[in-house]
Symmetry: C2
Subunit: 312 residues, 2 copies
């Protein structure tokens, strides 16, 4: 392949959907955007590198999906409504087939959430995808990490450990179970849930580094501790069928890449959250409680923060 | 070095300056920002990769400076006032000395322009720096590429070709002339000029890929052509002292990485622009004119777009 940068940009640009609040999109030195009056702007930026954040042989469409998904998950964890994003795509060589595949996954997810690609760049280098995502949230309603209070319930959405299980299979050169691999390659950002939690939940974080580690971040920011019940951690059928209870528990508690939301809420919100679970068709599990002190324990055993660290 | 990701983030975070419009900075899933009422948001994102955009042995402080400078230059080319940025820093290993050096250059430039770092991530991988930058511009005053009109003068700020000359020396394994290398490593984003041009200039672009190529982008967006006078292209003393006239002209016309602003303005603005040049202490050179037709010619010789393409 020997297409130039501008051809690659043209391939991407032709897929872009319009939004009324994009005054000027791809093609100038900057995008020009019109923030809605009275809203705060939530901004996040995450980069995925080949061989570190995804297996090097991951399908381009899955890479496009996942790179956007992890950023949408950050918006979800803040309770923000997705609006705009920029993309820095670094490729070893100009590869139109890769870009087309990438766009397929990227824009499939972008369409689901009405987020518009408004700018960015393409460069040459080892495969890497950086995305900055922007969303809107009402002042005072954002789901910050520092809003947990002693006595709150701890909740988590969906199921835990599936992505880490697929990653463990990959690292062991074993065949990845399809149901697990799908969760690793195409995580579902819980955007609707995050929007609905703004006003119900006290604090929220997305599970990217592992439940214990991420909940520990939340507890530290809030100045509290948490006690979890291992038996309450939700597991998928795929995970139950593939791993015994001990390994499964470890994957659920410490495995990253699930992109579920872990949040706290007063006990008075239990009925509202159960109703929300039914309305969204998404399991919400009560997995523990916020306590005085520091750190996170599970079935009474304390844990140091032990999630994924990029340089550990 | 074996510091973890969170230690690196802490090293960066302690350098961050506050702004009143940052409701929540580094440390949560998203930053929360408060856009000023009635302004448009200008957003850009550029990534620099080691060995592609800068020599691998570039000082960390220069990498930090340049990565921010190229993004500030995009805001300048739009006439926007810098406000916030996010940083994705990819490092082969956790290296506190690198991060400290990087921060020195990055924050030295950030302070000059009052831009606040509000989020991002650090990941493991081949050295790469991605930045998304945000600025404000009054609706209708942004310096778009499509505002050039037949009869306008073409102007350029500062001097051209210095960065490309240093790069040519580097590629030839020759010693880089200090005055030229400084322009490659520590480009000056023309932020004040960009702000002042909003309202004076018709169209504007920053010279990142080379004058002829970047002016061709501007002409294409505006549906016009341009004629340049080679003798009018501004050259630094360092460039004059180091290269003969032919090589110098080629570097000035086609070399990238200068990050000067190339803009168009009606002839009625000549006096205002000369006064602006004196007020800013920055040379502004009238280098040609906008004409009917397509493409850019220099001394009557037509040129295909021939600037830097990342995948050429």
């Amino acid at each position: 392949m020997s297409e130039g940068e501008f051809d690659l940009i043209a391939r991407i640009r032709q897929r872009v959907a319009l939004r009324g609040d994009v005054a000027l999109g791809i093609g100038d030195d900057c995008a020009l955007l019109v923030p809605p009056p009275g809203m705060q702007l939530a901004v996040t930026m995450d980069t995925l590198n080949a061989g570190v954040h995804f297996p090097a042989d991951t399908a381009p469409a899955d890479i496009g999906w996942k790179a956007l998904a992890v950023n949408l998950s950050d918006l979800a964890a803040m309770g923000a409504q997705p609006a705009w994003c920029t993309l820095s795509l670094t490729l070893p060589q100009a590869d139109a087939a890769f870009v087309d595949g990438f766009c397929e996954g990227f824009f499939a997810l972008a369409r689901q959430h009405g987020i518009a690609l408004v700018g960015g760049d393409t460069t040459r280098g080892p495969l890497s995808v950086g995305i900055a995502a922007h969303g809107f949230v009402e002042p005072g309603r954002a789901l910050r990490r520092d809003g947990a209070r002693v006595g709150d319930d701890v909740w988590v959405s969906g199921t835990l450990g599936d992505a880490a299980a697929a990653l463990a299979q990959w690292k062991a050169d074993a065949a990845m179970t399809p149901g697990l691999r799908a969760r690793l390659d195409r995580p579902t950002p819980r955007v609707e849930l995050g929007r609905a939690l703004a006003g119900l939940a006290g604090a929220c974080i997305d599970v990217s580094d592992g439940l214990l580690a991420d909940l520990a971040h939340l507890c530290r920011a809030s100045g509290v501790g948490a006690e979890l019940d291992a038996a309450a951690l939700p597991a998928s059928e795929s995970l139950r069928a593939t791993f015994d209870a001990d390994v499964r528990r470890a994957l659920q508690a410490t495995g990253g890449d699930d992109y579920e939301l872990c949040f706290t809420a007063p006990t008075t919100q239990r009925e509202a959250l159960e109703a929300l679970s039914r309305a969204l068709g998404l399991p919400l599990s009560r997995i523990g409680r916020i306590v005085e002190g520091r750190g996170v324990s599970c079935d009474g055993i304390g844990h140091a923060a032990s999630g994924y660290q990029h340089f550990a």
